[in-house]
Amino acid sequence: MFVRLVYESFRRQKRRKLLAGVAVMLGVCVATAMIAVATDIGDKINRELRAIGANLVVTPQEDTLDVEIGGVNLKPPSDGAYLNEAHLPKIKGMFWRNNIVGFAPMLPVSVNLAGANTTLLGTYFAKHIQFGKQNFVTGVQTTHPWWKVQGEWPDDGSQSILLGERLAARIARHPGDQVEIAGQGHAISGILSTGGVEDDQIVAPLSLAQDVIGKPGAVRRIYVSALTKPEDAFARRDPASLRGPEYDRWYCSPYPQSIAYQLQEAIPHSHAEQIRQVAQNEGTVLSRIKGLMLLITVAALLASALAVSAAMATAIFERRREIGLMKALGAGDFPVSALFFAEATLLALISGLVGFLGGALLARQIGRSIFASQITIEPVLLPIILAIAIGVTFAGSTLAIRRAVKFDPVYALRGEA
C-alpha cells in the first residue's frame, strides 16, 4: 500500500513533482559543477602560473661567483664548474617526475660577433629526450613561454641560431641571413624577442655552444619548471633533521624544497634551489585563488540548498487536502510523515542523479572552454552529492510536513488553509 501510494503520487502529480524535481536538479547540478571546478582550479591555475617561468634552478655545487650585470656575464668562460648534460634525462626519473612541466639547460659562452663581444646562450628549444620508456619534449618553449620568435625556432640538432631583437637591429640582420661565429657560418632561423637580456644575445642549440668552448656535455645551469604545493612551516624543515615517516612525508610532498632536494639527488655534484621570486609568490596567488573559489562554492551550495528547501516546502504546502484526507481516513501522524519523507527522498535521489550528470557535463564544458583541458570528476563525489541532496530535501520538507500533519483535517478538507 505504501509503495503504491508513493508510486501513484509520482504518476498522477507529474507537474508538481517536475517543478520540485527541477529545483533539486538545478541545485545539485550547480553544486556539482562548482565543487568540481573548485577542487580542480588549484591544479589548473598552477599550470597557468608556469607561464611566469621556471621556479627551480640547478647549478654546479662548486661553482664560482657569477659576475653578471644586466644579463652580461663577465666571468671568464674557463672559470667555474659545469653540470653534465648526460644526467639531464634523469630528471624525468624522479619521484615527482609528473610534476616536472619542463626543463631547459643553459650554457652562456662569450663569442665575437661582428667585432663585438656577445653572449651566446646554448639551450634546448624543444628537444626530444628519452628516459627509459618515456619520450618527452622539453626546452625553453615550455619553460620560457613568453619568448617570441619571428621566423622559425631552430632545430635542436641543427647549426641554426636565433638573434636577439636588439642585437639583430644593431647589426642589421634578418631571418635567413648568415652570421659568422667562431670562424663558422650559421644561419639565422629567427629573431628572438623576450623583453629581457636575451634581446642582446645569440641563442643557439646547446651542442653549438658546447662546440664553441670545446667542452662537450657541459651545462652551466638548468631551469626547471615544476608544479609545486605552496610551502608551509613543514616544508622549510631541513631534511637531514627529519626521521622516518616525517622524512617520507616531506619527500613525498611536492614542495619546492623537496623537488629541489630530489633534483640534487638526480644530478650529481649539483645544487638545486627555488627561484624565490617565482616559487614564493606562486604559493600566495594559488592559495588566494583556491580560497576564493572555495568560498564562492560554499555560497553556491548555500543558495542551492535554500532554493531546494523552498521548492520542497511549496510542494508540500500544496498538498494539505491530501494529508487531511489521509488523516480523516484514520492515518496517524507517523505514516503520513513517512510517506512524504519517502517521496522527498525518492525525488532527491532521481533529480540528484540527473543533476550530478548535468553538473559533470557542465564542469567538463567549463574546463574545456576556459582551461582547454579536462576537469576530472571524482566518482567519490556522487555519493556525497546525493547525501547532500537528500539531506537538504529532508531539511526543506521537515518544517512543512510537520505543520501540514498538525493541521486539523476538517479545515484542510474544507480548503481553509
Binding site: 517543478l19 520540485a20 611566469i52 634552478v57 613568453w146 576564493l292
Partner: protein, 379 residues
C-alpha cells in the same frame, strides 16, 4: 473634523485604499507562505549581489596579488651610462600613486685578493616593499653596512667579519648586516645603500625597477608616458610577469563569470518555481475576486503589484545580505574588504521585480481560463 477629513479622503480614492489594504492583508494573513516566498527572493537577490560584487572586485584584488612578483616595468640607462641625478624624480612624477620605483646602481668591484664581484647600490626601504620574496636575515640600518648575497658571502666574508672592496682605486670598509637569499642572480651580489654607493663609486643608478598596478592598458599607458618623460633611457615591460599575470587573470575572470552565470541562473529559476507555486496556491483569492466582479485588468494589476512589492522588498534585504557576504569573503580571503558597489543595486532591483512578475504571469493567465465557481468548489 478628523472623521470628516478621513471620509473625504476615502471617497476621493476608494479604489486605491482598498487595493493597498488587500495587498497588506494578503501578506499579513498568510505570513508563512509570504515569508517562504520572501526568503527565496532574499536568498536569490543576496547571492546575485554577492557574486556581482565579487566579480568586479576580486579582479582588482588578484591583480594586487601579482604585484608581489615585483617590478613589471624596467627603465635602463643607455648602454654603459648612468642616469642623471633627477631621473628618479622624473620617473616618480610620471607613475601613478601607489606605484613603486626603486633605483639600482651596479659596478664590478674587486676583493682584496683580486676576485671580481658585483656590487649594487639601492634604496633598502623600497626594495623591501618591491621584492618581498627576498629572504633576508637582517636589513642594513647604519652607514657602511651591506646586505651580502648567500653565494657572495662565501667569497667576501666567510666568517661574517668586516670586509674591504675596491673600485677604481677607492676602497670601502663594509660590515655585513645580513644575508640575502633569492635563488637568482642577487645571491652573487653585495648590496649597499644608495648614498654609500654614490659616495664610494661616484656613479648614479643605471636601472630603475617599477611596480605599477592596474590593468594591461594602464601598464602600457605608463610605459608610453615613461618613454616620453625620459627619452635617453630604455623602458621595457618585464614580459614574463606581465604575460603570466594576464594569462592567470584572464582564466580567473572566465571562471568567475561562468560561476556567476550559473549561480544567478539557478537562483532565478528556483525563485521562479517557488513564486509560481505561491501564486498558484492563491487561486481561491483569485476566484473570489473574480466572483465579486473584479475586472481582469484589476486582478492582473493586483497580482502584479503583489509580485513587484515582493521583488522590491526581497531585493533590498537581499542586497544588504549580499554586500555583507561579499565583504566577509573579501576579508576572509584577501584580508581586505570588498567595497560595496551601489551600481549593482538597480540591476538587482530590476531583475528581482522582473522575475517576480514573470512568476505571477504564468499562473494567472492559466487561471483566467477557468470559471471562478469551479475553482471555489476546489476542482
Amino acid at each position: 473634523m478628523n472623521f470628516e477629513l478621513a471620509k473625504q479622503r476615502r471617497s476621493a480614492a476608494p479604489h486605491r485604499s482598498m487595493f493597498l489594504r488587500m495587498l497588506i492583508r494578503a501578506a499579513v494573513l498568510r505570513r508563512g507562505r509570504a515569508a517562504a516566498a520572501l526568503l527565496a527572493m532574499v536568498v536569490a537577490a543576496g547571492v546575485t549581489t554577492a557574486i556581482l560584487n565579487l566579480y568586479v572586485d576580486t579582479q582588482t584584488k588578484l591583480r594586487e596579488q601579482f604585484r608581489n612578483y615585483g617590478a613589471n616595468i624596467v627603465v635602463v640607462a643607455r648602454e654603459g651610462q648612468t642616469f642623471s641625478p633627477d631621473a628618479l624624480r622624473i620617473v616618480n612624477s610620471t607613475i601613478a600613486d601607489g606605484s613603486l620605483a626603486v633605483p639600482f646602481g651596479y659596478v664590478v668591484a674587486r676583493t682584496p685578493d683580486g676576485r671580481s664581484i658585483v656590487v649594487s647600490g639601492t634604496d633598502f626601504d623600497k626594495v623591501r616593499k618591491l621584492d618581498n620574496w627576498w629572504s633576508v636575515t637582517a636589513w642594513p640600518q647604519k652607514k657602511a653596512e651591506a646586505l651580502v648575497g648567500s653565494r657572495a658571502a662565501k667569497l667576501v666574508t666567510p666568517q661574517g667579519k668586516v670586509f674591504d672592496l675596491s673600485f677604481q682605486g677607492r676602497t670601502i670598509h663594509l660590515a655585513p648586516a645580513g644575508m640575502l637569499k633569492t635563488g637568482a642572480a642577487e645571491d652573487n651580489r653585495v648590496y649597499l645603500s644608495l648614498s654609500d654607493f654614490e659616495s664610494w663609486t661616484g656613479l648614479q643608478p643605471s636601472t630603475i625597477e617599477i611596480a605599477v598596478s592596474g590593468s594591461a592598458q594602464e601598464v602600457n599607458g605608463t610605459i608610453r608616458n615613461l618613454q616620453r618623460a625620459s627619452p635617453d633611457a630604455e623602458v621595457r615591460p618585464v614580459r614574463q610577469i606581465v604575460e603570466g599575470e594576464a594569462r592567470v587573470l584572464g582564466k580567473m575572470r572566465s571562471t568567475l563569470l561562468a560561476s556567476a552565470v550559473l549561480i544567478i541562473l539557478t537562483a532565478a529559476l528556483c525563485l521562479l518555481a517557488t513564486l509560481t507555486g505561491w501564486v498558484f496556491d492563491r487561486r481561491r483569492d483569485f476566484a473570489i475576486m473574480k466572483a465579486l466582479g473584479a475586472s481582469a485588468a484589476l486582478i492582473n494589476g493586483f497580482f502584479a503589484a503583489e509580485a513587484a512589492a515582493l521583488g522590491a522588498v526581497g531585493s533590498v534585504l537581499g542586497f544588504a545580505l549580499g554586500v555583507g557576504a561579499a565583504t566577509w569573503i573579501g576579508r576572509a580571503n584577501f584580508h581586505a574588504p570588498v567595497a560595496p558597489r551601489l551600481s549593482v543595486f538597480p540591476v538587482i532591483l530590476a531583475g528581482s521585480i522582473l522575475v517576480a512578475l514573470l512568476a505571477a504571469i504564468v499562473p494567472i493567465s492559466l487561471l483566467q481560463r477557468f470559471q471562478p465557481a469551479n475553482i471555489l468548489r476546489g476542482e
